[in-house]
């Protein structure tokens, strides 16, 4: 019940902003691309479809898509990829957060003075970008390679940060800091070969990959637990401010509304949306990365479920699910499914 109240309040706080268009599909290999909106069955994507915060674009092995962002940037989504667009309120301003859960996505952001640059999240890292063209390649085990063509990208993971410039790339494996930047100009990055290599690593040592992602899931949960009391404190302040507003009239009411209530409402929305962002990031990690790993491993060991490697994977996997169920789910809504 508490979960539902949270969501209803969020809708009230977000108001019309929740329905603003954040991107538009300008190219699609019909019918090989789907749009998954929260709480709805996936639909086939078509030219001109609008994307809003919370929507995912899912391509099959046979289709690609290209999006135009509301601020003029472009996003090219390769085959067999899961991409999600979100908008969070940060410091009272909207910030676009794009996630790649699997596959590869090429980003080209235009620099617009006064606009905040978007943030790109992958299962293992977060990339802050500045006037950039770069590609994120996310393998089956969540390991990621960033390759920058132009501009700068700060890749953060596991408490470490690496700054990349044009012509550089970096790998981030689950649960670890970014590796050493490498020269990406020497030869084109072969994502297919990289994915095969990571798949081999996943099958050899699945427990290690799950533990890395569990750490990331716990980081999301930690952020949620920091935000919950702040959000509840501001929610109480907002309720009190709304009550007080009802007792005022005329100029006093208008002044109180503009100077007191509006800032409190903006801060409450900030806390809520950021909390939801971490929860949805946890859901994405659990669904697209951990869930897919479960599928791959269960099929690989279907005939030999007692195998110690598989059993080790299941034990680590169950620990990840405990964090998800107890620390992420309370901020999710069934419609997020």
């Amino acid at each position: 019940m508490k979960r539902i109240i949270l969501i209803l309040l969020a809708l009230a706080l977000c108001g019309g902003a929740a329905f603003a268009q954040d991107a538009e599909i300008v190219y699609v290999d019909y019918p090989e691309v789907e749009i998954k909106r929260p709480g709805r069955v996936a639909i086939l994507a078509d030219f001109g479809d609008e994307l809003h915060a919370g929507d995912s674009v899912i391509t099959t092995r046979f289709g690609e898509a290209e999006l135009e962002l509301a601020d003029g940037g472009t996003v090219s989504i390769a085959r067999d990829t899961i991409y999600q667009i979100q908008v969070i309120q940060s410091g009272g301003e909207p910030q676009t957060v794009m996630s790649v859960a699997l596959g590869s996505v090429r980003f080209k952001f235009s620099t617009i003075v006064g606009r905040r640059e978007p943030v790109v999240g992958v299962p293992t890292a977060v990339a802050g970008v500045r006037g950039t063209e770069f590609t994120a390649y996310v393998a089956a085990d969540g390991a990621t390679v960033f390759v920058v063509e132009e501009g700068k990208v700060d890749v953060s993971a596991g408490g470490g940060v690496v700054q990349l410039v044009g012509g550089q790339g970096v790998e981030v494996v689950p649960g670890e800091r970014p590796g050493e930047p490498f020269d990406a100009l020497k030869r084109a990055f072969d994502f297919s070969a990289y994915n095969d290599e990571r798949m081999g690593e996943l099958l050899r040592n699945p427990e290690r990959a799950v533990i890395g992602h569990t750490r990331r899931l716990a980081e999301f949960a930690d952020q949620i637990e920091i935000l919950i009391p702040l959000y509840e404190e501001y929610k109480a302040l907002l309720d009190a401010a709304n009550t007080k507003l009802e007792t005022l009239e005329g100029d006093a009411r208008q002044t109180f509304f503009e100077n007191e209530l509006v800032p409190i409402r903006a801060q409450t929305a900030d806390y809520f949306n950021t909390m939801r962002f971490y929860a949805l990031s946890g859901l994405s990690l659990r669904r697209y990365v951990l869930g897919r790993m479960y599928l791959l491993l269960s099929l690989e060991y279907f005939d030999i479920p007692a195998d110690t490697t598989y059993q080790g994977f299941l034990t680590a996997y169950d620990e990840a699910l405990v964090i998800y169920e107890s620390r992420i789910v309370p901020v999710l809504d069934p419609s997020d499914l």
């Binding site: 099959t60 099929l299 279907f302 499914l337």
Partner: protein, 165 residues
């Protein structure tokens, strides 16, 4: 004159057979109306045959998206394809006889797992169909549960498959 032409004069044995046949047709029609494809043993047997011998493409087309495999939700048709292909490659097979068909309800989700994902999937506001049915089968991987509901063509849609814990 007209009435005489239209009158069929049947004898007693003929009348009995006629009435019995009519009753059988009515019963069969009634069964069709009351038992949805998901709980119709003949249709369920056809789904099992499809799982055992049908093409992976046909299986993917007969599968709901999202789909549950054990307690995991597969939200991409690519992953559902991967699952059916992988099961086929692993030699997975269901015993074609001896299966049990039971009505299914939204409160049944703990049969798969008592988790947020399953509870949400099984809720009527989620993806749970009104005429859902469980099929309990013996397979090469032990006893399994299959959730069927709705229909595509004359066969019920497969909503998920899970090993009995």
């Amino acid at each position: 004159m007209i009435n005489e032409r239209c009158t069929i004069n049947v004898g007693e044995p003929m009348k009995t057979r006629y009435l019995a046949a009519t009753a059988l047709v009515v019963l069969l029609l009634g069964a069709c109306v009351t038992a949805p494809p998901s709980q119709n043993e003949g249709r369920v047997a056809e789904v099992i045959e499809l799982i055992n011998d049908g093409s992976v493409e046909a299986l993917v087309n007969q599968s709901h998206v999202p789909f549950f495999f054990d307690a995991e939700l597969l939200v991409r048709s690519t992953d559902i394809d991967l699952m059916w292909s992988g099961l086929r490659k692993a030699g997975f097979e269901i015993a074609p006889v001896g299966f049990a068909v039971e009505p299914a309800g939204p409160a049944d989700y703990p049969r798969i797992a008592d988790t947020f994902d399953m509870e949400s999937f099984f809720s009527p506001a989620g993806y749970f169909p009104e005429d859902a049915g469980w099929v309990v089968v013996d397979s090469s991987a032990g006893q399994m549960l299959i959730l069927l509901g709705d229909r595509i063509g004359r066969l019920p849609v497969i909503f998920g498959i899970a090993r009995v814990r």
